[in-house]
Every structure is written in C-alpha cells, then in structure tokens.
Symmetry: C2
Subunit: 251 residues, 2 copies
DNA sequence: TGACGCAAATTCCTATACAATATACGAAAT
DNA sequence: ATTTCGTATATTGTATAGGAATTTGCGTCA
C-alpha cells in the first residue's frame, strides 16, 4: 500500500464549468458524471473534433479511469463522441449531411408522436400542450425571445411525451442532443415569426380536432421550415453568430 | 509476476453456441464480442430476466472483465440488458406494453422512411424493393415460408435503408433487435396471408407512384395488422409455439 | 413455518502494470 | 530551409489484484 494518493472518492468538481457538483447519491459513478460530460459537449464546451483526454477528465471529476471510460462508451453509442483506437474519445465532428439527417429523424419522430396524440387525445397532455402554446403566444407578443425558445422546446417535447411512447421519447431526446449541439455551435434559434405561429396553431388545432394525419402534416410542414432555417444558419457562415461554420461533408 | 494464468489472449470461443469464432482482427475486443452476445440475447439463448455472470462470459470469450463490461454497458444503452448495481447485467424482461411501444416505434420509423422513399424515389432502392416484393410473391406462392420471412425482413429493411437516412436506419435496427427478440421468444412470424400481400402491393404502388402520404398510410395499415398479430401471439399463451408467455406489465 | 443473522459470492471501483499505438521531437538527408 | 526518418515520450487498450458495498444463500433459532 504505497499509494501516495488516498483511495477515497473526491467530490466531483468540474474544472471546465467551475460548478461544484458534489456527488452524494449511491448510484454508480458513471451515471453521475455522464450528464455533466454530455452537457458539456452539447454546450460546445468541448468543441467538435476536440479530444477528450482520459486523465484530464479523471482529475476533473475525481474518479478513476474505469467509470470514466464507461461514460465515454455510452456517449459513443449516443453518437456524441467517437472512440478511435489508441487515440481515444473525440467529440464527433459536425457536418451538414449528418445534421440534415438528424433533423429529418427529429421531424419524423415528432410527426408520429403528433399522430398518436391526435388519435388518443390524452387529456393531461393536451392540456399541457395548449398551455405551452398560449404561453408561447404571450412570450412572442412581449418580445421575450429567450422565454419563447424555452417554451418552444417544451412544446415539442410535450407532444412527444404526450404520445406516451417512452421508446420514441428516448430516441427523440437523443437526436435532440445532436440538434442542440449544432444549434448551440452556430447560435441558431427557432425563428419567432408569423409562419411559425400559424404552424403551431395548425398543430394544436389538429390535435384537438383528433385529426392524426392533419396533425402529422402540420408538424411536418412546420418542421420543414425550421429545418431550412437551421441548415441555413448552421451550414453557412453565420451573419451575426460569429464566423463559425461546419464542414459540408464527411465523406 | 506470480500470475498462475498466462496473460495472452485466448481465441474467443462461444461455449453457449458451440461456434468457434477465432478473433484475429485488431479492432477493440469489445467490438468483436458485442455482436455475439447481442445475437445470443436476440435469439433467446440468454432468456429474459436471466443474469449474465461476468466471469462466465469472460471465460466463454477468453477476455478479461474490462472489455466484457464495455459490452454490457453498450447493451444496456441499447436496452437489451439492464445493469442493476451490485447485481450486474440482467437480460431485460419482456412485457407487453414495452413490446407494443417498440412495435409502434418501428412502424413510425418505417412510415417516415416510406414517405421519404416515395418522395425521392431513389432508383437503386426502388429496384431493390421491387425485386424483393416479387421474390416474396414467388416464395408465398410456393409455400416457402422460411424464405418468405427472410425476404419480408429484407423488404422492410430495404425501405428504411432506401430513405438514405443512417440515423433513422440505426434507430430502426436497434428497435428491430427488441422486436426480433420477442418474436423469437414466442416463435411468432409474419403472417403469410392475402391481406399482407395486398398491403405490400399498396406500399410498392405508392412508392413507385411517388405518393409519400399514400406510402406512409399503406405502411401504417400494413404494420397495424402485423402489430396485432405479434401482440396476440407474444402476449398470450401461444397456440402451437409452446407455453411461453410474457408478463403483461412491468409497472 | 417463518424471521433473523452470518458467510459466501458478486459487483463496483480503485490502482497498477504492461503492450500497442500515436504523437512529438530531433537528427539526417536533400 | 525543408523534408524524411527514426527514436523517445505520451496515451490508450487490456489485464489483474484487491477493498468496499451489496446481494444471495444458508443455517439457526423462535
């Protein structure tokens, strides 16, 4: 026992974020640090293509290599990280075709969710969706853009959760991490315009009317517009969001 | 070093399957054994609720705990395995609500894929889909049920891959592992009947016609019928497939 | 029969070691 | 000066040992 360091667990402290997140729960360590590292990637605190050195992360969170490598493995399955043999974990590069693919998947998942909500019309979910819709209108009218964005995310998530399908919800959550990462990278936000408002109206109408195909179509048309905006702002040199730009292809 | 066992890697031999799968590639060990263990679970060689003892699997594949635990972590993200602290890896239990959810997700992913194929009409994919469709008709006419099942799986996979969206394809692949596991558990197979044939016709027609909404609807109606069959055969005591039955709820 | 408690087994994590590979750096050649 | 090459260093992949925490099994006792 000549170890110079004591073996006890240190509190997990993120050097990168500065936040002190003392860990007291008894859940496995990798489950505790996973959300932190994932969040750092989605927020671009680790940039695309950047390497994640094991030892640095071990020190940052005060854990050994074993649970840390667990986290990196999980992040690889989620696609946020790429594990290259003998190089290690690299933040998955951003590129336009992949992003387009993810947006399309997101749209598809929200469409089938909307269809299901319109079909089942679960009262609690409908109520929640209508509440968020109204709050969004209010925020838009008052020019509260930040609040609007948050509500908009909640609105879409509420539709997905409202379908009651945890499998679809999990898929949606995962793909949303990718989309959020790209939008954060380019400082892109949901447009706050007349067209979006009309689309939201149409979606809510179809859900209340119990019109599955109409709900799916309304969601599809809404997201088609969103996708165009995201790809415009993320793939091309941003007008005001700095000079960030992602590669056009990975092939 | 007083280790009584030699440290060199043994060839990976599956005791459970009896198949000798010598591993020579230089890709990481966990990538090599992952497909084997996953396959064993999908084929119910490890039954639902059964524990996967680490040491036993280590010996089976001739690897140490480190890469084996990597595999179990990945399988947990995929949902085929549940990792319980201090108990370890357990094959995820089967239950009707979860299965219904997965079938619904599968249907949704195939719908949006069909929509995309009808929209883009990629020549290679269309050709492949038509080829498989014809081969299925042929197999059905000749009563080649096993061949029919294989072709049917390929048909659905071809539609998903034809959409050209790798993200959706990956989601579909993952959810299909779950569906296959349940069907294998209950010896359930795609019905080979008139209704399914008509649905397949309608799907191919819509794809060739370039009718996205029609393709989605045809796929939806087809899968609605499949889902009813699967749930009937899997959730209830099987008529001829033995006396297997899965729990009705996990809650 | 049922409840309790101890012992054994298993897992989670730490720590360490070594092999395989990548990266960095400097020397040699052009 | 630039490029090429080879060596030294750093990092990762895997193996392994051991302690802490927890579950599981078994035996005892009421």
């Amino acid at each position: 026992m000549a170890g110079k360091e004591r073996a006890g667990r240190q509190p997990a402290i993120s050097r990168r974020t500065g936040s002190r997140t003392r860990i007291v729960s008894k859940e496995p360590i990798h489950e505790q640090i996973l959300p932190h590292i994932r969040r750092d990637i989605v927020l671009n605190r680790w940039a695309p293509d950047e390497r994640l050195p094991e030892m640095e992360l071990c020190e940052e969170f005060g854990v050994s290599r074993t649970p840390l490598r667990d986290v990196l493995k999980i992040l690889e399955v989620e696609g946020l990280v790429t594990l290259v043999p003998h190089i290690g974990a690299v933040v998955t590069p951003l590129n336009t075709p992949d992003l387009a693919e993810k947006l399309e998947a997101m749209s598809g998942l929200e469409q089938i969710s909307a269809m299901k909500v319109a079909e089942l019309q679960p009262p609690a979910a409908l109520k929640q969706i209508k509440r968020l819709h109204k709050a969004m209108e209010e925020a838009a009218k008052n020019g509260q853009t930040t609040k609007y964005y948050a509500l908009n995310d909640e609105f879409h998530r509420a539709v997905v959760l409202g379908s009651g399908n945890a499998t679809v919800a999990k898929m949606h959550e995962t793909v949303m991490w990718h989309v959020s990462r790209a939008r954060n990278y380019a400082n892109e936000r949901e447009p706050l315009n007349q067209s979006a408002a009309e689309h939201h109206d149409a979606i809510v109408d179809a859900l209340e009317r119990g019109d599955p195909e109409g709900a799916a179509r309304a969601m599809r048309e809404h997201l088609a517009e969103v996708i165009v905006n995201v790809l415009e702002r993320v793939a091309r040199p941003a007008a005001r969001g700095g000079d960030r730009e992602i590669k056009d292809s990975a092939a």
